[in-house]
Symmetry: C2
Subunit: 460 residues, 2 copies
Amino acid sequence: MPDLDAILAQLDSDRDAAIERLFALLRMESVSTDPAYKDECRKAAEWLVEDLKSIGFEASIRDTPGHPMVVAHSGGDGPRLLFYGHYDVQPVDPLNLWSAPPFEPVIAEGAQGPEIRARGATDDKGQLMTFVESCRAWKAVTGAPPPNLTLLFEGEEESGSPSLVPFLEANKEELKADLALVCDTGMWNAETPAISTMLRGMVSDTITVKAADRDLHSGMFGGPAANPIRVLAKILASLHDEEGRVTLPGFYDGVADTPPEILAQWKKLGFSHEDFLGAVGLSTPAGESDYSTLEQIWARPTLEFNGVSGGYTGAGFKTVLPAEAFVKISCRLVGDQDPAKIRKALHQRFKNMLPPDCTVEFESRNGGSPGIVMPVDDPRFEAARRALSDEWPNEAAFAGCGGSIPIVGLFQSILGMNSLLIGFGLDDDRIHSPNEKYSLTSFQKGARSWARVLAALSKD
Amino acid sequence: MPDLDAILAQLDSDRDAAIERLFALLRMESVSTDPAYKDECRKAAEWLVEDLKSIGFEASIRDTPGHPMVVAHSGGDGPRLLFYGHYDVQPVDPLNLWSAPPFEPVIAEGAQGPEIRARGATDDKGQLMTFVESCRAWKAVTGAPPPNLTLLFEGEEESGSPSLVPFLEANKEELKADLALVCDTGMWNAETPAISTMLRGMVSDTITVKAADRDLHSGMFGGPAANPIRVLAKILASLHDEEGRVTLPGFYDGVADTPPEILAQWKKLGFSHEDFLGAVGLSTPAGESDYSTLEQIWARPTLEFNGVSGGYTGAGFKTVLPAEAFVKISCRLVGDQDPAKIRKALHQRFKNMLPPDCTVEFESRNGGSPGIVMPVDDPRFEAARRALSDEWPNEAAFAGCGGSIPIVGLFQSILGMNSLLIGFGLDDDRIHSPNEKYSLTSFQKGARSWARVLAALSKD
């Protein structure tokens, strides 16, 4: 058993140096999507390898067709853990909206106290360094980094992770662990840490309805000619009932009710739909009327229209009857909903409602991904939750997440392991936007949190 | 009574010179919408003034804030007639699709015989010159142009006629007549002339539904946030019932059944919805199921969606929940439908169906125009129809017209007179498009037709 108090004390005494190390990493302009920053990406990977070597890891650069991976192993016995983070960052434009250069990190006083400002401050350099700092303190106190731990740092997360699946496939045995740790999510609020245990999956299509073989004049053809916008509107209008429920047959197959103990935890979070919707100019939850707003986002599937277009859409007016109109539809999936089955039902609805003379074309974005529910009854999840609760003012929550985090699905499908998603981002961190920041508290208590979680998991 | 046979013989003997005169007018690049052609427009107006003077009219250029009007009077007694045409033409781009320069008229062999090819060959220089040539022959035979006749040639018809209403208002007494003659429409087919006696009116709006004050991420807000595309689809889908009927309350107020004798005439035209729809890749009439396709276009009102847009409409996918979505809607009106009442009912439907948190904005294109039905029981209409029937292989038809011709409404509302819409265009004339043409038969028999019509009307 490591001396947790000593490790926490070591983290506290090493704070200034920890900030210097994070700043060094933040100064590297590792924008993965722009080839001009290729060397900067590699520099960041190399810096991480050297830093990990310095605290007892066996670390190396692993080349891919794109930006390199960093893989490090600590060796030793105990439960095998894989930590994942990414060292690449989003582009910085529009540059003129930054109050300071994005790759010259500073500590400034923010609305909620001191904060680190730079591109990547939260996403994901600040977050991944909370974990590295906890390992460093562990080494300082115990003489070695946490045992049987593998670190995987990706350099293409912000550009679609093209090399990730082949790399996981090619290195299954090396990367497989009992549990993955991922630091790329947020807290419930500044006082309340969270473990994200439910992620929504997604299936999405662009669907085009076509009628005449050209645009028509509505004076000449208005009436007898099929109008694809009218056809599309009828079909889209059929997809939800008056209670906001999706009407596709079988859509809710595999959607389970949220367990009462989780609902009770969520209730304690004090979520206010007035505040949540009020922040964007809304007031009335528009989803399924018999579920709370938080359940609608975290635990219920959706079918949403993300874009629609047809006919003349410029200024003024043209009395055209368009030859075609399209919609972009995405479904957020939960539980055991089957993306392929749902896509099929959606296509079938269009085919069933298509009048004579119309055709429909489907362009599928990809195979889709199912929703993910982590086993919160696994004692390691509860142990991690208790460990987080020890560090922060409020008890940690098992939270949902309305969005999708592809790596979690890949860890399940390729490496057969679940993920403990713990992160210290806050809602106002401006990730992907100008003036990205990371609360200094998030960085420092984040590192202490990981020390506590690693200690708790090492008790297995 | 003029000697009609002598006038027709004069027209036949003067054919070559008539073509030369039309060619002279076609060579003028009177594109009204492009200020670069301002002088060319004036040149065309001046040419018409000189030509009309040469055949006994008192003619003059009448300046406006835009391109000038040409007004000419013949003087004398008898029923007062006003002939309307326009000397301006559409732009010629894309120029590379013309097989010969658009302002260098030629006669070439077309699919249906010899044709005049140039911009404006039909619309409207060729058509208006059929009338001028009939007046010229009239003068040659009788020593004076047809009596009590006013000619009005506009130079802004292809650019929205901005000066027309003020000019009509300012010159009411001068322009008022017992009947207007307009040559800007088409034949039923190459053997069958037509008098257009029903024109559909129009009311059109751009309608925007708004929800959140910004675009939202569908992972974070999908479910509880109102989606304007979904709201729009529900409202649009409500506007037609399963039989294609518009569901707005009072929409069909003022829509009368087409008189049986008109329906009987239409039946004789041998209209084929298979051919009509087949030409644009369709086969099944999509309008009100209890009306024939020809009735749907000529005698029934419509509500059509001309454009729709909202959210992300580019390549690929963005899982955005848009802040707003809009639709462009136009209604074609017939009979005594009231544009203002229909607009109000449309707006009310949007307001009634708007869920909480959504707002709607209406941008009206203009006040709208009612449908127009000419009094076919007026003996002058029947006299004109008989006169046309004498010239062409098939009996002339009182036809409908799915589109709108604003001048006809203005002649009714400002000058209090009906219009006899007679034209010799054919469906394949490519007006507004590259390689515009006018059948030589249309030009020559068109002039003979006007001589017959003028003679018939002079009998009053």
